[in-house]
């Protein structure tokens, strides 16, 4: 898949920074404003879709290899499971307990540090959803007509 002209390449390399920043904002403030892990993950994956359309598929393959992307995906899932098991260990044998809110770091309402382990769960979900959607879009774009049948 070839890339586009040089105007599109220049402008999209500026715009992708804004898209990634917006996705990280939606993930981090998921406990205060609407959004959260899933919506922010979709926005992060769409920034890579913009790169794939403007620069071609080989550039994105070199930028984020598929093996690294699979590992990011598994890391997101492991992080989420670890947060749940830590609640089991640290907080009186309750699975998924919000141990940061009850014991260590309650925080003030309406601040960024307020809801305990919910921002960390949002980060893990955003990572997993972004990596999975990028894999799906990348692999669906490599299909070609099988002319040997």
């Amino acid at each position: 898949m070839k890339g586009m002209t040089i105007i599109v390449k220049t402008v999209s390399s500026w715009i992708k920074v804004l898209i990634v920043l917006f996705g990280i904002y939606i993930i981090l403030f998921g406990h205060l404003t609407p959004g959260g892990g899933f919506a922010g993950g979709v926005i992060l994956a769409s920034s890579y879709l913009l790169l794939m359309l403007a620069f071609g598929r080989e550039f994105v393959q070199k930028d984020l290899p598929l093996a690294l992307d699979s590992k990011l995906d598994c890391l997101g899932a492991l992080l989420f499971a670890m947060i749940a098991v830590l609640g089991l260990v640290l907080c009186d044998k309750i699975f998924f307990a919000n141990f940061l809110y009850q014991k260590y770091l309650p925080g003030q309402p309406f601040n960024l540090i307020s809801a305990g382990t919910i921002p960390f769960s949002n980060i893990a979900i955003g990572l997993k959803v972004g990596a999975s959607l990028f894999l799906v879009i990348f692999l669906l774009s490599t299909f070609r007509r099988d002319t040997s049948a």
């Binding site: 609407p34 899933f38 309402p109 309406f110 799906v136 669906l140 299909f143 007509r145 049948a149």
Partner: protein
């Protein structure tokens, strides 16, 4: 009245999924059916003159309680949370359907379901 329109949208999606011969149009019909069901579930939690279920700064009192102005006017947030999960599930099933479509096009060369007769490959 809005529930009847939701039902009409569902019927449109069902017509599209049953009658059309192009595979991509069938997939779009299934997608419209899923949209109609999600819309119906969200509309069940609506309250007349309601506001968004997000607590603002003036509605959380010092004792930790939530003010009556929020409790008397917010819509139900529970269907919204469940519909979010349903949207994620429909995204996964859409990816599977599209990859089946692409694979069938590779083997048969056409999207028309009346031309796909015998199993190949």
């Amino acid at each position: 009245m809005p529930y009847a329109l939701c039902f009409l949208l569902f019927m449109l999606g069902l017509y599209c999924a049953v009658v059309k011969k192009n595979m991509v149009k069938i997939v779009i019909g299934i997608l419209v059916m899923e949209y109609a069901v999600n819309l119906f579930l969200i509309m069940l939690g609506y309250r007349f003159g309601g506001t968004a279920p997000i607590i603002e700064r003036g509605q959380l009192l010092e004792s930790g309680q939530i003010a009556n102005t929020f409790l008397n006017s917010s819509v139900d947030p529970l269907p919204q949370a469940l519909v979010l999960t349903a949207i994620v599930i429909s995204l996964g099933s859409l990816a599977l359907m599209i990859s089946i479509c692409i694979r069938t096009y590779e083997k048969y060369g056409t999207f028309d379901i009346t031309q796909i007769r015998r199993l190949k490959g």
